[in-house]
Symmetry: C2
Subunit: 151 residues, 2 copies
């Protein structure tokens, strides 16, 4: 593993990286504040480690429990069509998980959100905007439920 950012260069060591929803000693939960994807949430490990296999087994379990707790609250409150989970770290090699609620009418579905976005015609765009607004209206309830679940 070469060329990874030092702590001083690492945006997830130097900044929150989103809107802080919950902070514990091992990890924090942030809203990614992605305008195309209301509810897009990240779990960020506090220490600057790169890969899941850099964690001990109990740490891996704690991290994945948080990821699955976010998934569970997204399913309950936001009721998406599908959940997407990913840990890449190619750009920011500081361990973090993406938990993304997906809808069949969203910008990239069924492709991952990192794919090139296909064109939407005006009626499809209007439907997408209306659905996004409806999801955004549930974000306060989602964030509250997350915070309660994280304890």
């Amino acid at each position: 593993m070469m060329g990874h950012a030092s702590l001083l260069d690492c945006p997830l060591c130097q900044t929150i990286g989103g809107v802080l929803l919950w902070q514990g000693p091992q990890f924090r939960v942030i809203d990614a504040a992605d305008p195309a994807y209301p509810g897009f949430t990240r779990v960020v490990w506090t220490a600057h480690v790169v890969e899941m296999t850099d964690l001990s087994a109990p740490e891996q379990l704690a991290m994945m429990r948080a990821v699955f707790l976010v998934e569970s609250v997204q399913r309950k409150i936001l009721q998406p069509h599908k959940i997407n989970l990913a840990a890449f770290g190619n750009v920011v090699p500081h361990l973090h998980w993406h938990i993304i609620p997906r809808w069949e009418d969203d910008l990239h579905f069924p492709a991952p959100v990192w794919a090139a976005a296909p064109q939407h015609d005006a009626p499809a765009q209007a439907a997408l905007d209306a659905r996004k607004t409806a999801v955004a209206s549930r974000l306060p309830a989602y964030h509250l439920a997350l915070q309660q679940a994280l304890g």
Copy 2:
């Protein structure tokens, strides 16, 4: 959760979905046989479930242990720059994980492998091809180590 494929329509219920490396009662491990990404491996849950939170806690743990075991063997034998982990299921809503070894010269780096591929000039393409060939030559050792680790 609406519109998910039935078992009869599900390619991961009806086919292996790649080159079978290991099969247990709960999950199987397959080589994705992606020509751009030698070593791209998937862990596929045997039963037709959609989300990680459809599994019990012990099942989640078994699945993630397998994913991290694949990551660990990839790091040891293939020595990539980074590991990418993802579970989407937007196209095939049958629980499966992608474990992808990434290199700084690969087709999409630092973007996820599902992004649009940037153009590579001829020297970069030749270097990429040479590195891919070197990785491909380590696949038998990688597959053997995986099978030994899975027991």
